[in-house]
């Protein structure tokens, strides 16, 4: 628990890799991963004589991010060089934006009328990746020069839980805006957190600590909770918090100061002379706004209107853009939004969790799930069969009708054929029949179960019920 006598102040810095097929300042093809040092050209290698040429598509995506987060788009912006030496920074400087960022201000909705304010969003190039081994250090420059936006939050979050919500919502909005996949595991979203404590009512901010190596939103929350406790203990015992960068260790559940990081490094920023200042006419911003993909709030309102779903369903379905799109296709395809919602929320999401995959990688397409639900709704298969079918389709590239045939799941709905089965069951269960006539309703359940069993579960249950009543009440057992 936080010591109640302190107020927590948190500011987040989020790096998001733009969803682009090429790099920020070079036409080099880009996708995450790949054999080390295969996705890099002379430009990102920083060889003598090379120059950056701005990828206009990156500017467009960054502006789209700004608009989705309610930032103001700068009319005239420029790039700056941040100078420092490191082997994964081939030119010895990073091209970024210092005093004229692309987007100023903005906010992330945290729910219930709360917002996390943004200071700025700017474009910058990624560095390569260093890895350190006993035998030495290795550098992979595939990522060098990839297009990033850095989203700098204001230090106005007040709890680790708020920080968690900020990140969840930010990711959701950027995914919906099709700015980035925001996949922390693939490194397309990275987060550093600054945290300080102060006495409630204090105007001055306390000494802040920067937390790094936060590889999931849950880790961000855990690391902030730990740091909150640590700083409270330091301050509570009359000590002073050291301004430092700390690395989070998830296994040990604690952070430790990062070695060798100079807090006072001078990056000798100056305007990038290889790139002329960029003018962004308001018409360009308007065109980007007009082409904005549907954002989460708009889609939620539309789903509520079109599908009449409860709030709980909307929360679950809209969390991930691809899941929402998947659901929408299923709902339209089967014409039963609530049935579609139930199946997506339970079966689909459970499967994704079990397999750790994304809905876009699911072999069972939304169109096929819709077809499956149509079969269920039309009574051609029952619910148990539908579940077997669902599991089968996850691993087999088959149309629904093909899978039904392959599994022999066609429901018995032919009244004449089914009547023969029911008659046979009644003939074999005279005691139960007698019980029924003696007024014991439970006997009907037993007879129903026997009939289903006799058909291997394929009988249309409603039809069985109907036939049982008809035959029992008519007393016709011939």
């Amino acid at each position: 628990m936080t010591e109640p006598e302190f107020e927590t102040v948190i500011g987040l810095e989020v790096h998001v890799q733009l969803q682009l097929a090429s790099k920020l300042f070079a036409p080099t093809e880009y996708a995450s991963g790949g054999e080390p040092n295969t996705r890099v050209s002379v430009i990102e290698l920083g060889l003598p004589g090379v120059l950056p040429a701005l990828n206009e598509r990156a500017v467009e995506l960054a502006i789209r991010a700004g608009l989705a987060l309610e930032s103001t788009i700068g009319a005239r912006v420029h790039f700056d060089r941040k100078n420092y030496f490191y082997p994964d920074l081939p030119k010895g400087y990073q091209i970024t934006q210092l005093d004229r960022p692309l987007c100023v201000g903005g906010r992330v909705p945290l729910g219930e009328g709360e917002f996390g304010a943004l200071q700025r969003i700017h474009l910058e190039e990624d560095a390569g990746k260093s890895s350190h081994h006993a035998a030495g250090s290795l550098v992979d420059l595939n990522r060098a020069g990839a297009a990033l936006i850095e989203i700098v939050g204001q230090p106005d979050l007040r709890s680790p839980e708020q920080a968690f919500r900020f990140l969840t919502r930010l990711k959701q909005i950027l995914q919906y805006a099709e700015v980035s996949e925001c996949d922390m595991e693939k490194g397309s979203l990275r987060c550093d957190a600054n945290i300080s404590l102060r006495r409630p009512g204090a105007q001055q901010l306390g000494t802040k600590v920067e937390l790094k190596n936060l590889n999931s939103f849950k880790m961000v929350r855990r690391a902030l909770e730990y740091e909150q406790r640590r700083q409270a203990a330091v301050l509570g015992s009359g000590g002073a918090v050291r301004r430092e960068t700390r690395l989070w260790n998830e296994e040990q559940g604690e952070s430790a100061p990062m070695r060798g990081k100079e807090a006072t490094e001078d990056y000798r920023y100056f305007p990038e002379p290889d790139l002329p200042p960029l003018s962004i006419p308001s018409e360009r911003v308007q065109a980007i706004a007009a082409a904005m993909p549907e954002l989460p709030d708009a889609r939620r309102a539309r789903f509520a209107r079109e599908f009449g779903l409860p709030d709980y369903d909307l929360d679950v379905l809209l969390d991930d853009r691809h899941v929402a799109t998947y659901f929408e296709t299923v709902a339209h395809g089967c014409g039963d939004p609530k049935l579609a919602s139930n199946w997506v929320m339970t079966e689909v999401l459970r499967t994704l969790k079990e397999r750790g995959s994304s809905v876009t990688d699911l072999p069972l397409t939304a169109a096929r799930l819709a077809a499956l639900l149509n079969e269920l709704n039309a009574g051609r298969i029952n619910r148990a069969a539908a579940k077997r079918l669902f599991e089968h389709l996850l691993d087999h590239d088959l149309e629904v009708t093909e899978a039904i045939a392959a599994l022999g799941l066609q429901q018995l709905s032919d009244p004449a054929a089914l009547e023969q089965v029911v008659r046979a069951v009644l003939a074999g269960q005279p005691a139960a029949v007698a019980d029924f006539h003696a007024g014991k309703q439970k006997a009907l359940h037993a007879l129903f179960g026997q009939t289903m069993k006799a058909t291997g579960g394929k009988a249309n249950p409603a039809l069985v019920q109907q036939l049982l009543r008809k035959l029992l009440e008519s007393g016709d057992r011939s």
């Binding site: 003598p48 120059l51 950056p52 040429a53 030496f85 082997p87 010895g92 100056f270 002329p276």
Partner: protein
């Protein structure tokens, strides 16, 4: 007639119509280089075999009927800071030991496409930092007019190669005067184009906001041609100008009605009287050709040198950070820790002048001082640009000395960086303003050392400069005087 005599245009025309073979042109140039090089030392490498092979290929293509380019078979010397795929690029620096260019600079590629034959790479001050071509790991180049003297710099190798008639055209780069000043000191013409006129892609950066690619030649028609061929927008250089490139080659014409400004600040203290006398006489020649000299004032000229050295060194400190021993070039202390490898690599392989400028640049950009130094230099740069623009509202061009002094003896200023920096006093304003400037030979000192006349024009005013230069050369013969072998 030897093939290397005459203009590049005459050579290209003869190669095109088959009256001259490219292989013979190249052979003549190689012979000339072999004869003069021991005394001059203009080249750090001669591409003899590659040039012969390319000439054979050009001849074969012509026989097959492919249309020859405007520079067909013309040998061109390339300053050692422009990349040519498959060849070494050194920038006069040990830090590029072992570096082979994996791609070709846009400007060089355009010359190749026009049929030119790269004949070798020329000596330069390390990374373009110098005004004498003494700061090269390959040793100095000597002035063809007096081997005891410097050729100017940093494109000293290129200017000397043209002056010694080893080639008709040599490429250079000009950041603060590095084409114009050696051209003046070697008695040849040198054109620094408008900033952005020629792509910088593949030019090893010294100071990005000032660097330009240009050429030296004896004939202004050749200079116009080579500059036109290299010009034009390049998607790989965001600062390249998307402006139609007119034919720069101006036929000799009268200068009637042309107003040529003469800024008094360029004739100030420190100007060699012989230079002043020659330039004043040149102004009379221009007046006789119909131009109207106009006295003008550019009061901020005296701040150009400090502004230039702050901006150029700031950009250089960043541009040269990539020479860290990690990916290419020289490395020292590879077994040591990272910090030590960086330090040893850069300390052991950069020359003293480069290290001095990197330190100056870092100083000017350091936190807390950037506004006072770098920021103020940018403000001065704007003042100088505006001041020049205002003058160009009243005149078509400016005429000044190119260098305040003629070529000095080797070693004379080597230990006095400030004296060396002052060589650039008259050339840096055009660099800061990004405007085109041309140096043409306009006389000789009593010791027989060449003097240059600098002409400046507003942005994209290359045709104006070449028109004035051509009129001047049709009335004079300084450009025809060859150094004694």
């Amino acid at each position: 007639m030897s093939a290397a005599d005459g203009t590049a245009r005459a050579t290209a025309a003869a190669v095109a119509d088959g009256s001259l073979r490219a292989v013979d042109v190249v052979e003549a140039s190689l012979e000339r280089i072999a004869a003069r090089e021991p005394q001059v030392g203009a080249f750090v490498e001669v591409f003899a075999d590659a040039a012969r092979r390319r000439a054979e290929q050009l001849d074969a293509e012509r026989r097959k009927g492919s249309p020859p380019g405007p520079l067909a078979g013309v040998p061109i010397a390339i300053k050692d800071n422009l990349l040519l795929r498959g060849h070494r690029t050194s920038c006069g620096s040990r830090i590029l030991d072992g570096f082979t260019a994996p791609y070709t600079a846009t400007a060089v590629q355009r010359l190749l496409d026009a049929g030119a034959v790269p004949i070798g790479r020329t000596n330069m001050d390390e990374f373009g930092m110098g005004s004498s071509t003494e700061h090269s790991c390959f040793g100095p180049t000597r002035n063809p007019f007096d081997p005891a003297c410097i050729p100017g710099g940093s494109s000293g190798g290129s200017a000397a190669a043209v002056a010694a008639r080893m080639v008709a055209i040599a490429l250079g780069s000009d950041t603060g005067g590095s084409i114009r000043q050696p051209a003046a000191m070697c008695g040849v013409a040198g054109l620094k184009p408008t900033y952005g006129r020629v792509s910088r892609f593949g030019l090893v950066a010294y100071a990005s906001s000032l660097d330009t690619v240009g050429a030296c030649a004896t004939d202004l028609g050749d200079l116009a041609l080579v500059t036109r061929v290299m010009s034009g927008v390049d998607p790989r250089d965001a600062t390249s100008l998307d402006h139609a490139v007119a034919d720069f080659d101006a036929p000799p014409s009268s200068l009637e009605g042309m107003r040529i400004g003469v800024p008094s600040e360029y004739f100030a203290e420190g100007l060699d009287p012989a230079v002043e006398q020659a330039v004043r006489a040149a102004l009379d020649t221009l007046a006789a050709a119909g131009a109207e000299p106009v006295a003008v004032s550019l009061p901020h000229t005296e701040f150009a040198i400090p502004a230039y050295y702050l901006i150029a060194t700031a950009e250089a400190s960043s541009n040269l950070a990539r020479y860290d021993g990690v990916r290419f070039g020289a490395r020292s202390g590879g077994d040591a820790d990272l910090e030590e490898m960086y330090t040893r690599t850069r300390t052991e392989h950069f020359g003293a002048e480069v290290q001095r400028r990197i330190l100056l640049g870092c100083f000017g950009l350091q936190r807390g001082h950037a506004e006072q130094w770098y920021g103020k230099a940018l403000a001065v740069r704007t003042l100088i640009r505006d001041e020049l623009a205002a003058v160009f509202a009243r005149c078509d061009a400016l005429a000044t000395p190119t260098s305040p002094v003629v070529a000095f003896a080797l070693g004379d200023r080597l230990t006095d960086p400030l004296a060396m920096y002052l060589c650039d006093t008259l050339t840096v304003p055009a660099s800061l303003a990004g405007i085109p400037a041309l140096s043409v030979p306009c006389g000789f000192s009593t010791a027989g050392l060449p003097i240059g006349l600098q002409l400046m024009a507003p942005p994209l005013g290359e045709p104006t400069l070449l028109r004035i230069g051509t009129a001047f050369q049709s009335a004079t013969d300084f450009h025809r005087r060859e150094p004694a072998p």
